[in-house]
Amino acid sequence: MAWSATSPGANQPDNTAFTQQRLPAWQPLLSAGIVLPLFFCVGLAFIGLGLGLYYTSNGIKELEYDYTGDPGTGNCSVCAAAGERVAPPPANCTCQWCFSLSELFQGPVFLYYELSNFYQNNRRYVVSRDDAQLSGLASALRHPTNECAPYQRSPAGVPIAPCGAIANSLFNDSFKLLHQRLPGGAYVEVPLDRTGIAWWTDYHVKFHNPEPINGSLKLAFYGTAKPPNWPRPAYDLSPDPNNTGFVNQDFVVWMRTAALPTFRKLYARIRHGNYSAGLPRGAYCVNITYNYPVLAFDGHKRLIFSSISWMGGKNPFLGVAYLTFGSLCIVTGFVMLVVYIRHQDENGEDEDE
């Protein structure tokens, strides 16, 4: 074998599969043959899944009551009228919503409140908080970020803790659920579990109280002012020392701003005592402490009892979407099959000619 004596040029390219663009490759083709079965499979799978989701969602019970207090809609209208366009609203106006269950409300039951037309996602509102302050940082406690303005400092110039519009507008209606087991019997208070309504990580990691001084949270908050709308300072939010200050469940829930102007927030879970299986039949009343003014911005307040399945609350959307889309897949599949077959014939004829 005689190799050429001339040495190859110094700039002879490398002969690798990569440089020669000949890397081994999988070359799939989106042809009708592959896509058609895919459509049918996906369609069938989606219809199955959709049916499951639909029935799950349908099995979830919801009981909803609008207690905004529009004139003539129950006894909350008195409170609404009293509190109209007053901020902060007058304290301790109460009203009541009574309902009766003819059968067991399958548990576990969750109590939500819903606000509408409340723009928690307004940019000025969303940024109006100081995560450093809420994490218990001592320096941030007395120097809230500028984004909190105009809820950064009180008129006297004292830093507000917790600062910002979100904290200031904390939802402060409270609910008490009473159950009358027997007609004409006494109303018994249903225990509401107010723990575990906020994200575990928020409650335990993200939010921290400032380090107590001499065991007193009040001293730790010394030199700060309460948010203007709050009736009492943060360290007095709750008598429970584990649920006060910044690590108050209601507060933490409120601080997670909602995505849309109509939103629900979890108020309590009903899972203790006789009510762990749900709400038994009977008459119920909810005592509402009506504090939060919503008519000023054309808002509404609702109270919702909802059961929860593996897929969360009632939401027919997913089930319907899966069903619709599954059927659509099957229909398109058939249309494409027809096109495919007819076109195949034409092709065959073409080839015959």
């Binding site: 490759a25 509102y125 994490s135 629900r264 911005f297 609350g313």
Partner: protein
């Protein structure tokens, strides 16, 4: 020596000469940052991003300045580093050049100095092999005849040795002292970049005598950058230094060419800018409409600060508008520019790496001079080629000569063996008579003398001693390969050209006697005259003028000789594709010669219009010739299997032959005497389409191009264009270089604005290469000038096919997908954010977290598309090469048409609607977790974003036809990276962040079953229309590409079947 630079003698301009420093660098250490930044921000895109960034800095905007500042900083920094590095290299090269030592004469002594200290008027000594430090007037050389050899390879790429001549009066000065005593004044023109033009005058003052005036031409001017060869040393005087040298003047960069894709990209950009502005405008207006209720503008739970309340309404509205602009600015991604640049730069390596385009002979592969035009290679509609140098490779061989109608072939066939070196000749026609013999010898002598070939001095160059009788094997060098072929051919016929010594040409005749001819004048070759002449004086005192040139240039000037026989032979040879030259002579008396000499001298000395005067003189001299005969040199033809326009300097018959090779058959359609139009029609019988071809010559063309006074000026031009456009091939012959460029321009500017490609290898093709959209040079033997001026250079013409059909096609589909995909993915990205404004009170609340906003284009979706745009092959390269019709699928910018662009945009809008409203309906008024807890706005955004990243990446996966492991790696890798990043980003309280809004958002989302189901559903719903469209289009209206893809799949299946069958049969037969 005094030097004065004069435009003309009357207007003397006092001149300040620069020093001899060459500055090719753009920046200095001090001005690098401001100048570079200024240049970078002159790009409209960079400027736009800078404005956005500044707006973010100044006003209160929804996103932090980091989101646009970081990518912009990255882009600017990378570009600045690249440019800085390039400039540093230039600085280094400049320094090396400016500091290299130069010998020059000071007070009669040889001094060594740095090159930069050289001044105009200094006398410089240059040794063999050294490079000239500036432009020099050649004063004297160590050679007695006052010549020197120079190679200008680094200037124009011509590797041949050129002869330069010392000034007659000074060529005797051999020592430093002699030179120092020289008193002279040089007048010369202002510096100009033309390498081959120089006009000047030298006055030499000799003691007591009148000063002698000598004309100076380009043959006296040694150019900076060229180097001395085969000459021991020379002396020269510096006339142009530093930035005034012709080399420096030629540094000017070429005008920037922009590709069609880039133009479409800019148009799309404007469209998106309009979309962006209208989005911001709509939102601003709606915001103020919506806010007109005071409880919406400032509800009790979200009050404004005092300063916000007091701000002017218009100022507020304007600030809001800017804030919306900032919020949506990602729709024009800064990263697209980076990706496009990277794709072009990296992609061009595949061209240079291509083994098929590597030339073993020369050891060179393709060169990419600019990667900006890669995709333009896939858009070529017209190819302009110069046959003379491109279709043929310039490997010439002397085939025959015809003297007075008798044909001679320079080798005998003996026992079936060719003896190339034998001195005998084959007579084909009848043997010549006595006068014929005389003519024959004269013909050979003419060919031996009439040329500009140099003999390479073996003794000097190689240092090897050769025996005197081996002189026959000496090596000839010339800038024109056919001259070498001729001299070599004549050598085989018995006459050997030995050398030029002391202005005497020596030839060895058949009887091994040396004949000496004094070379009186050379009327050098030029492409307008297309002929050259020499005037020699034989030993016997006879003065001859020998003229050699193209037949069309010789025949009109011939008064005697067997013209008809020669012409028929020439035409026959031309039809066979040979290059023909005619030879004629004229005998002069001494008086006639004196007259000629006077004419030439006056023309040569002229400072103004020297060229014109010379041409006139030549024209007068080369008349009344006697035809001797013709020669034929063979061009080795290369295959050219593609549609081309041939613009050539050759004569029509040769051109026609070539045409025949390109197309099947030709027939004369009509002949218009007036315009010398000749139409040819070629009928392709294989299909019903008739392909027309047009042949036109330079004379006719100049008639067409010439504007007419009568007002009908445009008519011929338009008619010509109309005809040309309907022809599948056009051939223009006998073209001057400028005419070639004119033709290219004509086509380029015609109504449809087709994309043109010019390919050529000679200096005469440069104008056309620069004019065309894509210029390709061939790294040929005629020098590298074409290659240096081109956008791409290839070693051989045959490589053009792969370059266009395969690489161009790939580049085009890759970049068009890249552009469309970038716009698509950013519509998908930003449109949900736009929709979200309707649900957050037009408050500019971003839907996604800052990290997602910043990293979306930088890391989550960048690599897959970059890799796609480097690797994608929708059809294999073999297939593309085999089936050129696939090229039509992408012609006329097919993948970036408005229809396609709108499809992508609407697909993006559809996907965005699916993402947003899918997430909206899923999370509206409900909880999706098993523990009943609710999600906030960041979860909503993250859900949309997750669907977005997956959909956009999978959409690219659907478009990918060529899945190498790299594609798998980047596509799945990007998705995994997104997940890992999100887990990390939300999994830790980041101490450097002032907000912790993403804390555990992603993980919480994944803990919800319906979120998973929703993500899967939304991804599939978004992808479905595209799948549907793809399948239906493939089924109902398949393009040629898609047909090939399908066929290819079937073929691979069939092949394996056939293979199995053949195996069966073979096993049966044994």
């Amino acid at each position: 020596i005094d030097i004065s630079l004069n435009l003309c003698a009357e207007a003397y301009i006092p001149q300040k000469y620069p020093d001899n420093r060459i500055v090719s660098s753009k920046y200095t250490f001090w001005n690098f940052i401001p100048k570079n930044l200024f240049e970078q921000f002159r790009r409209i895109a960079n400027f736009y991003f800078l404005i956005i960034f500044l707006v973010q800095l100044i006003i209160d905007t929804p996103t932090s300045p980091v989101t646009s500042g970081l990518p912009l900083f990255f882009v600017i920094a990378v570009t600045a580093i690249k440019q800085g590095y390039e400039d540093w290299l230039r600085h280094k090269a400049d320094n090396a050049m400016n500091q290299c030592p130069v010998h020059f004469i000071q007070h009669g002594k040889l001094v060594r100095k740095q090159s930069r200290n050289l001044r105009v008027g200094d006398v410089v000594m240059v040794n063999d092999g050294e490079t000239f430090p500036c432009d020099l007037i050649f004063l004297s050389s160590s050679r007695e005849d006052g010549t020197c050899y120079v190679t200008t390879a680094s200037l124009d790429g011509e590797s041949s040795h050129k002869t330069y001549y010392a000034v007659q009066e000074t060529k005797g000065f051999q020592t430093e002292e002699e030179i120092d005593n020289l008193h002279a004044t040089v007048e010369c023109e202002q510096p100009q970049p033309d390498l081959y033009k120089f006009v000047g005058r030298i006055h030499v003052y000799q003691e007591r005598n009148e000063p002698v005036v000598r004309s100076l031409g380009s043959e006296n001017l040694l150019l900076r950058g060229a180097s001395l060869k085969n000459t021991e040393k020379i002396f020269g005087v510096a006339i142009y230094t530093g930035m005034e040298t012709k080399m420096a003047l030629n540094y000017q960069s070429k005008s920037q060419k922009r590709s069609v894709v880039e133009k479409s990209m800019n148009v799309f950009l404007v469209v998106y800018l309009c979309i962006l502005i209208s989005k911001a405008l709509i939102n601003t207006i709606l915001k103020y409409v919506w806010q007109s209720d005071p409880f919406r503008d400032e509800p009790w739970f979200n009050q404004k600060t005092e300063s916000e309340r007091q701000r002017n309404l218009f100022l507020k509205a304007f600030t809001d508008f800017l804030a919306f602009m900032v919020l949506f600015n990602y729709i024009i991604p800064v990263s697209m520019y980076v990706t496009v640049e990277m794709q072009k730069f990296l992609g061009s390596y595949f061209l240079t790496w291509d083994e098929d385009m590597f030339d073993e002979e020369t050891g060179e592969g393709p060169l990419v001079n600019t990667s900006d035009l890669n995709e333009e290679l896939g858009q070529v509609e017209y190819i302009f080629t110069d046959k003379t140098g491109t279709l043929t490779e310039n490997n010439m061989e002397f085939i025959e000569c015809c003297i007075e109608g008798n044909v001679y072939v320079p080798h005998v066939i003996c026992n079936g063996q060719i003896l190339p070196n034998s001195g005998g000749i084959d007579m084909i026609d009848s043997s010549p008579g006595v006068s014929g013999k005389e003519r024959e010898e004269l013909f050979f002598r003419a060919l031996c003398l009439c040329h500009t070939v140099q003999v390479k001095d073996d003794v000097l160059v190689d240092g090897q001693k050769k025996s005197p009788d081996s002189s026959r094997s000496c090596i000839y060098i010339s800038s024109s390969p056919d001259e070498v072929a001729l001299v070599e051919g004549i050598q085989r016929l018995g006459f050997t050209y030995l050398r030029l010594k002391d202005n005497h040409m020596e030839i060895l005749n058949r009887d091994n006697d040396i004949e000496r001819y004094e070379l009186l004048d050379t009327l050098s070759f030029d492409s307008v005259r297309r002929r050259m002449s020499v005037i020699v004086k034989s030993a016997s005192g006879d003065i001859y003028l020998f003229c050699k040139g193209a037949d069309s240039a010789i025949f009109p000037r011939v008064s005697e000789g067997k013209i008809d026989q020669v012409r028929s032979r020439v035409e026959r040879n031309a039809v066979e594709g040979l290059r023909t030259l005619c030879v004629a002579y004229k005998k002069c008396t001494q008086e006639e010669y004196d007259e000629i000499h006077e004419l030439l001298h006056s023309a040569k000395v002229a400072l103004q219009e020297r060229e014109k005067k010379l041409a006139e003189a030549y024209d007068q001299i080369e008349t009344n010739l006697i035809l001797l005969g013709a020669t034929a040199v063979e061009d080795r033809l290369q295959k050219a299997g593609i549609k081309v326009w041939v613009l050539t300097g050759d004569k029509m018959e040769t051109a026609t032959t070539l045409f025949k090779l390109l197309k099947t058959s030709l027939r004369v359609l009509s002949k218009d005497e007036d315009l010398a139009f000749i139409f040819y029609v070629s009928c392709r019988l294989s299909n019903d389409l008739q392909d027309f071809g047009l042949i036109i010559d330079g004379a006719a063309l100049s008639l067409i191009m010439k504007p007419r006074q009568t007002g009908s000026s445009g008519n011929y031009r338009e008619l010509f264009l109309e005809i040309c456009r309907n022809c599948s091939a056009v051939l223009c012959c006998r073209m001057a270089p400028l005419q070639k460029a004119q033709i290219v321009k004509l086509i380029k500017l015609s109504k449809e604005h087709p994309i043109t490609l010019a390919i050529g290898d000679g200096a005469n093709d440069v104008s056309m290469i620069l004019e065309a959209h894509v210029g390709i040079g061939i790294i040929g033997k005629e020098g590298r000038q074409a290659a240096r001026n081109s956008d791409y250079a290839i070693p051989k013409f045959k490589h053009l096919k792969k370059m266009i059909l395969v690489h161009g096609h790939f580049y085009y589909i890759r970049i068009s997908e890249l552009v469309q995909y970038f716009f698509y993915k950013n519509v998908c990205f930003i449109f949900p954010q736009f929709l979200y404004q309707f649900f957050c009170g037009f408050s500019q609340q971003p839907l996604y977290d800052t990290a997602y906003l910043t990293l979306y284009n930088i890391s989550f979706t960048s690599l897959p598309i970059l890799m796609y745009s480097l690797m994608e092959q929708h059809v294999t390269s073999d297939m593309l090469k085999r089936d050129p019709s696939l090229y039509r699928d992408i012609a006329k910018n097919a993948l970036l048409r408005w229809r396609v662009f709108l499809y992508w945009t609407f697909l993006g809008v559809f996907d965005a609607l699916v993402f947003f409203f899918g997430a909206y309906l899923m999370l509206e008024n409900t909880t999706v977790t098993i523990n009943g807890q609710v999600f906030g706005n960041w979860t909503f955004g993250t859900l949309v974003f997750t669907v977005l990243v997956f959909t956009v990446t999978l959409k690219l996966a659907l478009d990918t036809h060529y899945w190498t492991w790299i594609n798998h790696f980047v596509i799945w890798g990007s998705l995994i990276f997104y997940i890992i990043f999100s887990l990390l980003w939300g999994g830790i309280i980041w101490p450097f962040l002032s907000y912790q809004r993403m804390y555990f958002v992603f993980i919480q989302m994944l803990s919800s079953g319906p979120a998973w189901l929703g993500i899967i559903l939304l991804i599939i719903v978004s992808l479905l229309p595209d799948i549907l469209k793809k399948v239906l289009c493939r089924q109902l209206w398949p393009t040629a590409t898609e047909r090939t893809q399908t066929k290819h799949q079937c073929l691979s299946v069939e092949q394996s079947t056939i293979f199995m069958l053949s195996q069966t049969s073979s096993s049966l037969s044994f």
